[in-house]
């Protein structure tokens, strides 16, 4: 038995399936329903039913393979037409179920696809030196060591809070500036330093939906951020993962 894994839904391109390979090593196919074209793959049921996927989510290596394959097919699928990526692990029994879903949600898909038409998603991470300034070493007064301990601790606490507050303010300001030259913006949680592998602290992890003919302006805004001394990391272009959500409040 096999199942149908859904990668993306796009407008048009009904004769050009992505080459793949997909999440199960398969060649992606298309399910066409009116103007909507779903990019799907036939996958083995024993590997992709609910229980198998639940197990897969326990396995980092498998998650990575799935996510990368899913992502790669979507990148390919989104090259030419407006495309709405689907979240990892959206699985149907058969093509008919996919087609029925496309019929039932045609209006929503239409709206989402229009929104991302001629736009691409760009990820922006901003790092700044957020090390709190060196503690002011108060001379340890030998007569009241307990008091000086507490005061030292209080200074640590306040410095930490101030540093966090500063970082937040920087992030808000940068995000605001970039959002002004974007069609949409979405803030994500700054990644842990262990992930980024950087000494500097990530203060902004955001992603923006940018008009393809507005990318110059967006780049100029990024350069302005860098001119202020921040380190900017740009990723993309991404298919509009963060801006093609439907059916959610």
């Amino acid at each position: 038995m096999s199942l149908v894994w859904l990668y993306a839904v796009r407008l048009g391109g009904a004769d050009r399936p992505p080459a793949g390979p997909g999440v199960d090593g398969e060649s992606p196919r298309l399910v066409v329903e009116g103007p909507l074209v779903a990019v799907v793959g036939t996958v083995r049921e024993e590997e992709f039913d609910e229980a198998a996927l639940a197990r897969a989510m326990e396995d980092l290596a498998r998650i990575e393979r799935l996510a990368r394959a899913h992502h790669a097919v979507i990148v390919e699928a989104a090259a030419a037409e407006p495309t709405a990526p689907l979240r990892l692990a959206t699985v149907y029994r058969d093509d008919e179920a996919v087609a029925r879903m496309l019929r039932e949600r045609a209006v929503e898909f239409g709206a989402v696809l229009e929104r991302v038409r001629d736009r691409r998603e760009w990820g922006v991470k901003v790092y700044v030196d957020a090390k709190p300034e060196a503690p002011v070493e108060a001379p340890a007064s030998s007569d009241r060591p307990g008091t000086s301990y507490l005061l030292r601790r209080r200074a640590d606490r306040d410095r930490g809070a101030q540093a966090r507050e500063r970082a937040r303010a920087v992030a808000d300001r940068l995000d605001e500036g970039l959002a002004q030259v974007a069609a949409g913006s979405h803030r994500m949680k700054p990644q842990d330093a262990r992930l980024s592998g950087r000494e500097q602290e990530m203060v902004l992890n955001a992603t923006y939906l940018v008009d393809t003919d507005g990318e110059d302006e967006f780049r100029a805004a990024l350069a302005a951020v860098e001119a202020e001394g921040a380190t900017v990391e740009l990723t993309g272009p991404w298919p509009p993962f963060s801006f093609a959500t439907l059916g959610e409040s």
Binding site: R144, P145, G146, T147, S148, Y149, L150, L151, R153, R154, D156, R157, G160
Partner: protein, 98 residues
């Protein structure tokens, strides 16, 4: 949570260290809570100087004791931190670097 006992069994050589780590993490959390509460009292300004000194001395000795215990188990300060996901780090973001 079935994992814990299974794991303890699986690696008998590290049982002491793992248990020590778990216990010390909880103790460190309590110590930090106490310290923060003490700082709040200091901020509020309603503590007489002698009380502040006593509080500070007590917390300072507690911290020294924690350092000794930690070293006894061969643990780094960052080892006593746990990522609580949405709740943040158990000991705050700065705990690992102190």
């Amino acid at each position: 949570m079935p994992e814990l006992p299974r794991r303890v069994e699986a690696q008998p050589d590290t049982v002491g260290r793992d248990l020590g780590r778990l216990v010390l993490t909880i103790v460190e959390l309590l110590r930090q809570l106490m310290e923060r509460q003490a700082l709040r009292r200091v901020d509020a300004g309603d503590l007489p100087d002698e009380k502040i000194e006593q509080l500070g001395l007590g917390l300072m000795r507690l911290e020294e004791a924690m350092v000794e215990l930690r070293e006894h188990f061969g643990l780094e300060p960052g080892d006593l931190n746990i990522d609580l996901g949405p709740l943040g780090n158990l000991l705050g973001p700065e705990a690992g670097s102190r």
